[in-house]
């Protein structure tokens, strides 16, 4: 009798085979247990009181009204945080609960635990917070002339960053490459803007904290990186890490939005305070304040080229609004700067990026991580250049395509795989459907189910774009992944790896690697927890397939060797895999030293056919073809799924997704008003998998989750420009922009 996870019986797979997701059927039938489904006998419900202001001083908090509500077991504020009062991914600047000031709309101020969630909500309403509203900083352009939101100027400084003494600077970064004054025959300029996108995962933030009766706590939570959660949670609880165990609960989507903590510390505090299990689940509205978002950006770009189309120089100034706390803004800043020019050979460049603090919703990690914003600007510039030079836009891109052996503006030489020209050629060769081949029912036209056109006002456009970004963590981060393999006497195997299954399919990857290495189908995956294995690093940065493959491969091989040496019996082996080392860039020039700043790269090209009702400003993307550099597809069906999902997310940013704010307050915190694409908005997507093995990676794999999101926003807007003849320099593109109302 094999011991396999439910669902794996259907079809087992080794590396390179398209296999059904192990969690596919349970998720489809509703049997899968998401974090919001967790239940345990005797549990209380936690609730968070949040700031109604984007910026205010907290003068006093009166809990007496809340404490007298029936069923309430605890009402806690910052003074009840036993350990460190603040936490954060890169800087510990975010209060567990507001101390004397709130800096963004929805910032947690107090937490309540009660028998019933309704009692907790009603009690929270009876907490009286004496706020003194302050003028919010909402315009990132003016942040550096405003009062500092974080008064200690040393609180966000690193040796690796350029010193910038102005107030509210999160990070200033500069790449000076070659001669930034180099002139070209042709110059094109543009100013581009991107709104703030939400990850819009369907499973809201949720989890359950269970006290262990010995002073410690178990936290079951939907997250992306168990061990870094523990690293932040334990000090705030005043506990050693061994007394805090984080377990992965079912994740309903992440996209970067679960890198930062949400309920972890709050639920643990309440559980330890009440000696009862405490569950917390955000509602949809709260979720919009419960996680960081994609950075809104303003980008000024100037591209200079020779008359025959070779890039001579790129200058870019990028402004990112980081919102109220640092989160991972400094790394996003580095990425936006590093990938600003796109995957092109650029001999001279000056890229200057600044991220700032404001009282807008905090921003941090989201799929594409800085490269989405710059790809949108850089690709619009390439199209402008093609137009100015009267060169075919695909030809222009091929002419300047980066490849192995070329040098990035940071001075990093590309020694690994980066087949930019090939993805461009293979994408360009995809045959797009003729108009008559498309379904012509009114519902398939722009406006869709709204029945607004039978063809009146509809124009067709074609867009093309190329994008790239890094895989894994950069700038000297010690990036590792552990895996532990137990071989049993009956020939079966058990794999422990803390890699978070966030829907991307890493569970299948781990199983496929283990089956291949151990040459058996009889492999099961143990529950994902800090209690049984070392850190996997984050399910982020398109790194998890590469890192988990490496760790599981090494642990499997070591286990086989050990069993051989021992002549059989039970074997239990843990191994840690690391990718090659990187180092920070020079803070003054943004140039590499001896070591590279990035581990590896992945690129994608995309061709889009869009139809636009130019009178109503409504759009429908009708076809997308893409070629993506995937290294080696471990599970080709899953790779196509990532490409389709990633493309849809970029489509959302292009056409509809934006967190709207007024004076820092979110005005569309619901899926009624924050729209994400439906099945009628996402067209069929033809995916070409370009497999050039990555020399440094196990099995030649690359990450695949982000390149489609990086490129699709740019490609879709290019198609809209082609259809409308308008500049469309801001996303999401609004109907007003298309019809020319400003």
């Amino acid at each position: 009798m094999s011991r396999v996870m439910p669902g794996t019986e259907a079809r087992l797979g080794w590396i390179g085979e398209s296999v059904r997701r192990v969690d596919g059927i349970p998720k489809t039938t509703g049997e899968f247990e998401y974090a919001s489904d967790l239940q345990v006998a005797g549990m209380l419900w936690g609730h968070t009181l949040r700031s109604p202001y984007a910026h205010a001083r907290v003068r006093a908090i009166d809990l007496s009204g809340a404490l007298s509500v029936a069923g309430v077991h605890a009402v806690l504020t910052h003074s009840d945080v036993p350990g460190r009062k603040t936490y954060g991914l890169e800087f510990q600047d975010q209060p567990v609960l507001a101390i004397d000031r709130v800096r963004y709309f929805g910032e947690p101020v107090a937490i309540v635990a009660a028998e019933h969630p309704e009692q907790a909500r009603r009690a929270a309403e009876r907490i009286v917070v004496d706020y003194e509203p302050l003028v919010p900083i909402v315009d990132p352009e003016r942040a550096t002339e405003s009062e500092p939101l974080h008064p200690d100027p040393e609180s966000h400084v690193s040796d690796h960053y350029l010193r910038d003494p102005r107030p509210n600077v999160l990070r200033t970064m500069r790449i000076i490459h070659g001669d930034p004054d180099a002139r070209g025959d042709v110059v094109v300029e543009g100013t581009y803007e991107l709104g703030s996108q939400d990850q819009a995962f369907l499973g809201p933030e949720s989890g359950l904290a269970v006290p262990d009766g010995k002073g410690g706590v178990d936290v079951y939570v939907a997250t992306q990186w168990l061990h870094v959660d523990r690293e932040q949670v334990a000090p705030c609880l005043g506990l050693p890490e061994e007394q805090v165990r984080i377990h992965l609960a079912g994740v309903g989507g992440a996209f970067g939005g679960r890198e930062d903590l949400s309920i972890q510390i709050h639920a643990a505090l309440l559980a330890l305070h009440t000696s009862r299990p405490v569950k917390m689940v955000y509602n949809r509205q709260e979720s919009f304040s419960g996680h960081v978002h994609r950075h809104p950006a303003r980008i000024r770009a100037e591209h200079r080229a020779t008359r025959d189309g070779r890039l001579v120089c790129v200058q870019m100034r990028i402004l990112l609004d980081g919102g109220a706390y640092a989160s991972s803004s400094t790394a996003v800043t580095a990425n936006a700067t590093s990938f600003a020019c796109g995957p092109y050979a650029v001999p001279n460049a000056l890229i200057e990026t600044m991220s700032v603090f404001t009282n807008n919703p905090p921003c941090g990690a989201m799929r594409g991580f800085g490269a989405v914003q710059t790809c949108f600007a850089a690709e619009a510039q390439m199209d402008k250049l093609a137009q100015a030079l009267e060169i075919d836009p695909v030809e222009l891109r091929l002419l300047n395509a980066l490849g192995t052996g070329d040098t990035l503006p940071t001075g990093q030489r590309i020694t690994s795989s980066l087949p930019v020209a090939e993805v461009i050629r293979r994408c360009a060769a995809l045959r797009e459907p003729d108009p008559e081949e498309l379904p012509r029912a009114a519902i398939r036209l722009p406006g869709g189910a709204g029945n607004t056109t039978r063809g009146e006002g509809v124009k067709r456009g074609v867009g093309f774009a190329v994008g790239f970004k890094n895989i894994a963590y950069s700038e000297g981060f010690d990036d590792s992944c552990a895996a532990r393999v137990r071989l049993h006497e009956d020939g079966s195997a058990e794999v422990h790896c803390a890699a978070a299954e966030v829907g991307q399919g890493v569970t299948n990857v781990i199983l496929q690697v283990a089956r291949t290495e151990l040459a058996t189908d009889d492999v099961r995956i143990a529950p994902v927890t800090t209690a049984a294995v070392g850190s996997s690093g984050s399910a982020s940065a398109s790194r998890m397939t590469w890192m988990a493959s490496g760790a599981v491969r090494d642990a499997c091989r070591a286990a086989l060797v050990e069993r051989e040496a021992r002549g059989g019996g039970e074997v239990d082996v843990e191994r840690v895999y690391r990718h090659r080392r990187t180092a920070p860039l020079d803070p003054e020039t943004g140039q590499v030293g001896e070591l590279p700043a990035h581990v590896a790269f992945a690129c994608a090209a995309m061709k889009v056919i869009a139809e636009v009702d130019v009178e109503l400003g409504l759009t429908r993307v009708v076809w997308i073809g893409t070629a993506q550099d995937v290294g080696k597809a471990v599970n080709p069906q899953a790779v196509e799924g990532q490409i389709e999902g990633g493309t849809a997310q970029g489509l959302g940013l292009a056409l509809m997704e934006e967190i709207q704010t007024r004076d820092g307050l979110i005005t569309n915190a619901s899926f009624t008003d924050y729209l994400i694409p439906t099945a009628l908005d996402v067209p069929p997507i033809v995916s070409e998998l370009v497999e050039h093995p990555e020399p440094d990676a196990p099995y030649g794999v690359k990450g695949v989750g982000e390149p489609p999101t990086v490129v699709s926003t740019a490609a879709i807007v290019a198609a809209l420009r082609d259809a409308t003849g308008r500049e469309l320099a801001r996303v999401p593109v609004r109907p007003d922009d298309i019809v020319g109302l400003q």
Binding site: P446, A449, L655, L675, T678, R734, P735, D736
Partner: protein, 264 residues
């Protein structure tokens, strides 16, 4: 929170009179969102979903009577589409199949949102609302029933029984503008009818004034009608769109709808 579930219209009216604070719920696609988001905590709900008398539709002497419990899915049936084409097309634009199976005409009138998708097509079909209480029955023109954004003329003891509309009123169509291709709340919507027999053009729009608004003109006024309808609107800027765009779109929609109806 109590849930009162009457099984007959009589029982519903008695409960309504006895519990004026109990919020009527029919379908629940608006109300349940408010409850989930913790925006409303009514003392009680008066659940009308089990009242058989409110379901279905009937036809008599050219008047179509739509029960308050008629769902959008019901409204998309071929028979109703033939009688009330704009109403049927509007129903197809509502939400997802799950929402259309659940959402009702009575609920749309009860919410009385300026964006209510059923309201413009009902307005162009000479719509009367049947209201009843233990005190008796009354009928109100839909224009008089809608008194403001999310406000209607329902008395605290009354229930919406049905709406009465005239079927087969010439050619009609419905259009709804939203920033994605399905499942949107109207940024602006339009129902338009051309009644050649009586020589009347009628248009009603949603999301471009405090209430869904009816505009009529003589058939001869075809050329100026788009401008006339746009001028009757008083759209605002909000998270879903700008006032300028709404007025612009309304002009385009009216011209297209006229073309569609006149060439049919």
């Amino acid at each position: 929170m109590d849930v009162l579930t009457p099984r007959s219209l009589d029982e519903a009216l008695r409960l309504r009179a006895a519990h004026p604070d109990a919020l009527p719920i029919q379908g629940g696609t608006d109300l349940m969102v408010d409850l989930n988001f913790d925006r409303r905590r009514p003392e009680a709900l008066l659940n009308l979903n089990e009242v058989a008398e409110l379901k279905g539709w009937s036809r008599e002497n050219g008047v179509v009577r739509l029960g308050a419990g008629l769902t959008y899915t019901d409204a998309m049936s071929a028979k109703l589409a033939a009688l009330l084409p704009a109403f049927s097309e509007a129903s197809r634009t509502v939400g997802s199949p799950q929402i259309r199976n659940r959402g009702t005409i009575g609920g749309n009138l009860g919410t009385a949102s300026p964006a209510g998708d059923a309201l413009p097509p009902l307005l162009i079909s000479e719509c009367e609302v049947e209201l009843q209480s233990v005190r008796g029955e009354r009928r109100l023109a839909l224009e008089s029933f809608l008194i403001g954004p999310k406000r209607n003329a329902l008395a605290p003891d009354e229930l919406i029984l049905a709406v009465r509309v005239r079927g087969g009123l010439g050619t009609q169509t419905f259009m709804k503008v939203g920033p994605r291709n399905a499942m949107v709340i109207a940024v602006v919507s339009l129902a338009l009818g051309v009644d050649r027999e009586r020589g009347v053009l009628s248009a009603a729009f949603g999301s471009a004034a405090p209430v869904a608004t009816l505009v009529t003109a003589a058939l001869d006024d075809v050329d100026s009608f788009p401008e006339q309808v746009a001028a009757a609107a008083s759209p605002i800027d909000d998270v879903r769109g700008t006032g300028a765009y709404r007025r612009h779109a309304l002009r385009v929609l009216v011209a297209r709808a006229l073309e569609r109806c006149l060439t049919r």
